[in-house]
Structure formats: C-alpha cells, structure tokens
Amino acid sequence: MLKQLYRAALLTTAAACFVFTSLASFSVNAKGVYQSGPDFFTEVFAQQQAESKVLWLTPEIRSQAAAIVGHPVRGLRIRYHQSDSKTAWILEEIGKEMPITIGVVVEDDVIQQVKILAYRESRGGEVRYPAYTAQYKGAALQEDYQLNRNIDGITGATLSMWAVNKVAALALYYHAAVNQSSATHQP
C-alpha cells in the first residue's frame, strides 16, 4: 500500500515538473520576431501592386496621434504600403517595457488584419494569437478616435492588449490622414 502511494506521489511530481517546464519554455518562446516588415507587406499585397509611400507627420497629425497613443510619437514620417483603398502599416508601441511591432492592414477605413510581427516582452505574448487579433477585423475609428468595438482582453496581457488597441486606432487614423491628404491634392 505504501509502495503504491509512493509511486503515485512520484508520478504526480514528475507530471507537475513536466507541465511546469513546458509552461516556462512556452512563455520564453513568446519572445521573438515572427515576421519581417518586407515579408509582411509581400504577404498582404500578394495579389496586388502595392506602392511604398511615406506619410509626413504634420503638427496636426502629430498632436492627434499623441492623443491616441498617450505620448508623443517619434519620427517625422511613417512608412506604409498602399494599393487603391488598402494601406498596410508597421507601427511600434511599448507594452510594459519593450516595444511590440504590429502590422495593421486597413481597407476602406476598416481594419482588415492585425498581426504581431515582433514581441519582446517576457509576458503577455498571447496577444499574438490569431484568435485574439481576429477581434480587430472590421473595427473602425469612432469620432473620439477610439475603436468602435470592445476587444476582449487576456488575463496577464492587459498592457500588451492596450498597446495593440492604441496601434490599431493609430493605423486607422493614419489611413484617414492619407485619404484626406490625397483628397486635398486631387485636382
């Protein structure tokens, strides 16, 4: 009887160790670069002829962008790819301490795709799962520059989720700014 109990305890400990180490390695693996920028654009515009363009951040755009992300934005221009009414952006936002690189595709003022290209934090990497990023598909920008839908959060990844929300709203705003500037430049 004692022997059986001893065996059962041993087996339980071994199983617990296995689960623990798998979980630990899983969280470590969350860090990394999943896709490069050029590969992301190639994938997004596989069937279309896309043009690489830059959006110069005018003082108005900068101040609105700063209001969306909650801090001043860096850089005087943002690079994007465009094909007709579809634009693709690669933007960075800090989750807790490290920047998360996020690819956002916008078509007709609505998000078509959000993809985490690089995640550098040690925790919260669950935001890269398609099940999570799929929630952004179809989201648009409200008048108050917030997303027009509620995104379900992930326990332990709140800061990363906020970062993705900000970037999604920012990409929608930049897309609108591109459309606006091209409309004003129309003859």
Binding site: V33, S36, G37, P38, S52, V54, R74, G75, L76, R77, I78, R79, I90, T101, L117, A118
Partner: protein, 247 residues
C-alpha cells in the same frame, strides 16, 4: 589606572564612531540607508569601479552619443531610441545617420528623428558601419556572416528615401578613410550624462557597514577594528580592576 585612562583616551573617538555607525546600521531600513546611492568619482575609484569616459561622435559641431540606457542623445537632447553601442555617425547635405545596434536612425539637419531603419524593416543584423562619400550613404557589413543574410555585397549603397540597399562598387579603403572614430565627450556633456544616467553607485548602507567593520580600508582596516575590539576588552577589565581596587 594610568593605562586605563590612556587606553580610554586613545580609543574614545573610534568607539563613538562605532557606536553611531552601529546604531545607523541597526536602523538602516527605517533610515532608508540602502536607498541612498553615492556615486562620487573617488568613492567609485576606491571600490574599484571603472568609470570609463563616455564617447561620442562630433559631426558638424554636434555631439552624438548614447546615454548608457536606450537613447541617442544629440548635444544632451533625446533624439531617438538607440541600443548600445552607437557604432557610427555620418552626415549628408540632407541630415545625419546614426547607426546603433538596433538600427539606423535617420535625422534631419536639426537632428530630429525622421525615421528608424531597423532589422524588422530589412536592415541586416551584421551592419558594421555607416559612411558617407560624395553625399552617398554606404553601409558596410561583416564579411564573415554575409552568407547568412540576404545581402549581396560587403558594402551596399543606402537610399534614405526608399530605404533600399543596392550593391556598391567602391573600395572598402576609400570608406575606411572617411570614417570617424569615437572620441571622449567634452567635460560638460560628461557631467550632464553622469547626472542623467544610472551608472554604478554605492549605497550609504554599504559604505557605513564597510567603515564600521574596517573593510573600507582593506585588511589593515579590519585588523585595526580587531585591535579596537581587543582594547575595549582590556578597558573593561582594567576598569573593573580599578573599581575593585577603590573599594
């Protein structure tokens, strides 16, 4: 009794110091001594910390340097994110190009960040230098790791508008001669950098503990405190003997 007095007189300063420092150490958490950091040069030197002189690149009268954390500073202003080391800085008529280990920062003539060209945008990880010759920008790559990247040559010409790289037909030596070496920052910038960055420091608790135990002065300091301890024992014995004699 004469010796008791002499011993007492010769040790009283040290004893008072030991009593005060012992009291401070006993109440260190309350006094928050471990949160007070000291970073004066002589103290860091004494503890064997090497404080190297910060280096940077002087281009067009502006000093470009890394803050020891994650920022590229230009004359004291935070211009861009930059993971150490800051490898090289070059200028064209359009602006400046500062190569850090996390990417190439494109700055305008006022040293404002235009954009960053990083690994995610296609900058090969083995980039060793940025050099400007005849207003053209060249990036030099480590030849030993070139096979593992998607670039075709050791030197590529960089287009600052399209961020494209194309193989360059130029002798490496011609670029090497143009490259500027890092130089120690002027004293005023060194001072500001030291005040802003979080370099090595010693907590006040460590300093008091080392002074209390004598370790601050090395082996001799420890022996000295041992000697004081011995003298205190002798003092208490001679004191007791004097008291008995008087009775």
């Amino acid at each position: 009794m004469l010796w008791h007095r002499r011993l007492g007189l010769s040790t009283f300063v040290v004893l008072i110091f030991l009593a005060i420092s012992g009291f401070a150490l006993n109440h260190s958490p309350g006094l928050k001594l471990n949160q007070i950091n000291l970073s004066s040069n002589w103290l860091l030197d004494w503890y064997g910390f090497e404080v190297p002189l910060a280096e940077g690149f002087q281009v067009d009268g502006k000093w470009f340097y890394q803050d020891g954390n994650k920022a590229l500073l230009v004359d004291g202003h935070n211009a861009a994110s930059c993971t150490a080391p800051l490898i090289a800085v070059a200028q064209t008529t359009d602006g400046f190009f500062a190569l850090c280990s996390n990417g190439l920062n494109l700055l305008n003539r006022d040293a404002q960040l235009i954009e960053q060209f990083g690994a995610i945008d296609g900058l090969p990880p083995n980039t060793q230098a940025v050099t400007v010759l005849d207003n053209k920008i060249y990036l030099t790559f480590d030849s030993t790791t070139i096979d593992s990247t998607n670039i075709d040559a050791v030197i590529m010409e960089f287009n600052a508008h399209s961020l494209e790289l194309k193989p360059a037909q130029i002798a490496p030596k011609a670029l090497k001669d143009m490259r500027q070496a890092a130089m120690p920052l002027p004293e005023s910038l060194q001072k500001t950098l030291k005040e802003q960055s979080s370099g090595p420091s010693i907590s006040l608790e460590t300093l008091i503990l080392d002074l209390h135990s004598g370790r601050f002065f090395g082996q001799f300091g420890v022996l000295f405190i041992d000697l004081i301890g011995l003298l205190v024992c002798i003092l208490s014995i001679t004191g007791l003997m004097g008291w008995i004699k008087r009775r």
